[in-house]
Amino acid sequence: MKIAIVKNYYGDFGGEETGGNVPKEYTADSTAWPLWEVFIRSKQGLDHKHAGSLKAADAQMAIENARDVYTRRQEGVSLWVVESKYIHASNPDDAESLYEPAEDKIYRHPTFYDLPDEIKHM
């Protein structure tokens, strides 16, 4: 028995016109949208957590795009978006002076205090 497979040499295949990535001159796109950071509350009662970022013309579009990109599998029940330029970050070079002073203040933890075993509910 002869079996014929129909192959679609259209749409996805260009016949003779093949090959050659010819580099062209391009300029940065002036129609680019600003960058936004996306925060998702995964379940009622939990905090919003950073999920990623995306481009959008305004806040409403940022929320719509965030819904399409970050919540396609029920990842969230609420979204926050903020334009990335409004986020200020601490400098990693300051990490020592910022966070190390907390290291020797162990009295801030409940386990620092030695109490008799008989004591209950504390």
């Binding site: 497979i5 016109e17 093949t18 990109v69 599998r73």
Partner: protein, 313 residues
């Protein structure tokens, strides 16, 4: 601090499995390698939508159509996660997209092969996504934080891609003689290009050593390729089909399947732009970008107008 001190501290962090974050000091070459690799990866997700998007309107049932749309939509998201990760290294989205469209940047060569029958959708899911997953699972532990986090999200979504592909082939493999023939034909055409996805042999790969030392990569091209072969050989049996390689043979000494020589001439030809569809892919991307310019402009104008109105009120 002296440069070599900074480099030493950097390598110590890598050795201790501490992730590198955008504002941390990093060697210029580390930044560059990551920008190149992440943007290339992003472009692959985007260009990868073209051969599959081509079959959405020709899917054989509503169910298959819905699945294919969901998969293509996922790939768009993957592209976005990766572009965002690359942007944290100081490059811009516009620059990366320009580099793709001008032909300066590369994307995975696999997408320069045509999808000729419906069975190709199954073979792409099983083999192409399958090969990509091996690489992506490794990259979930890559040393650059934003890249690793993007990969974790991608891997969560990716496993359905491979499973739907295999299931679709399974249906064909139990179908009519024509469907069976289509299934085997698609496997025959996608097998070798899928093996090429892992890149040149370790002995030919130029930046592999440094990437391993910086833990950008954790497995070599040949290691990943071998695990792919070992898995596929077992999986194809469930389809009752064969892989188009007469040299495939279990090797008791290495506990691996030995396989035939890859056609590296073809590999380099496609990388250099002479594959069956290189030109179509770039033309399609350029056309979409150009024809979408008015949409991007209109959205900006609308946002500006709305903001002005809100300010006045």
């Amino acid at each position: 601090m002296q440069l070599h001190d900074l480099e030493k501290k950097f390598q110590e962090k890598i050795d201790k499995e501490i992730k590198i974050e955008p504002k941390d000091w990093m060697p210029e070459a580390y930044r560059k390698t990551n920008v190149r690799q992440i943007s290339q990866h992003a472009h692959s997700e985007i260009v990868g939508m073209l051969p599959e998007g081509n079959w959405i309107s020709r899917a054989p049932s509503l169910k298959r159509k819905a699945i294919l749309i969901a998969k293509v939509q996922d790939e768009a998201g993957h592209g976005l996660y990766l572009y965002s990760a690359a942007e944290t290294l100081g490059t811009s989205r516009e620059q990366m997209i320009d580099d793709l469209h001008s032909g300066k940047a590369k994307y995975s060569s696999i997408f320069n092969y045509p999808t000729l029958t419906w069975a190709d959708m199954g073979a792409v899911g099983w083999l192409v996504d399958g090969a990509a997953i091996l690489n992506q699972v490794m990259l979930c532990r890559t040393s650059y934080g934003p890249y690793a986090r993007a990969m974790v999200r991608i891997c969560k979504e990716e496993s359905f891609h491979q499973r739907q592909g295999f299931e679709s082939l399974l249906v064909l493999s139990r179908g009519t003689p024509e469907q069976k023939a289509m299934c085997q034909d698609a496997i025959n055409r996608w097998w070798w290009p899928s093996l090429m996805m892992f890149g040149p042999k370790d002995s030919e790969s130029t930046n592999s050593d440094q990437s391993m030392k910086w833990k950008i990569k954790r497995k070599t091209n040949d290691e990943l390729r071998q695990s792919f072969v070992n898995m596929a050989v077992e999986q194809v049996k469930l389809l009752g089909m064969t892989l188009p390689d007469p040299d495939l043979k279990w090797n008791e000494a290495t506990k691996n399947y030995d396989f035939g020589e890859i056609n590296w001439e073809e590999f380099w030809a496609v990388v250099k732009g002479n594959g069956p569809c290189n030109k179509q892919r770039l033309a399609a991307r350029n056309k979409a970008h150009k024809e979408g310019a008015w949409v991007r402009e209109a959205a900006l104008a609308y946002a500006a107008k709305k903001a002005a109105r809100e300010k006045a009120a």
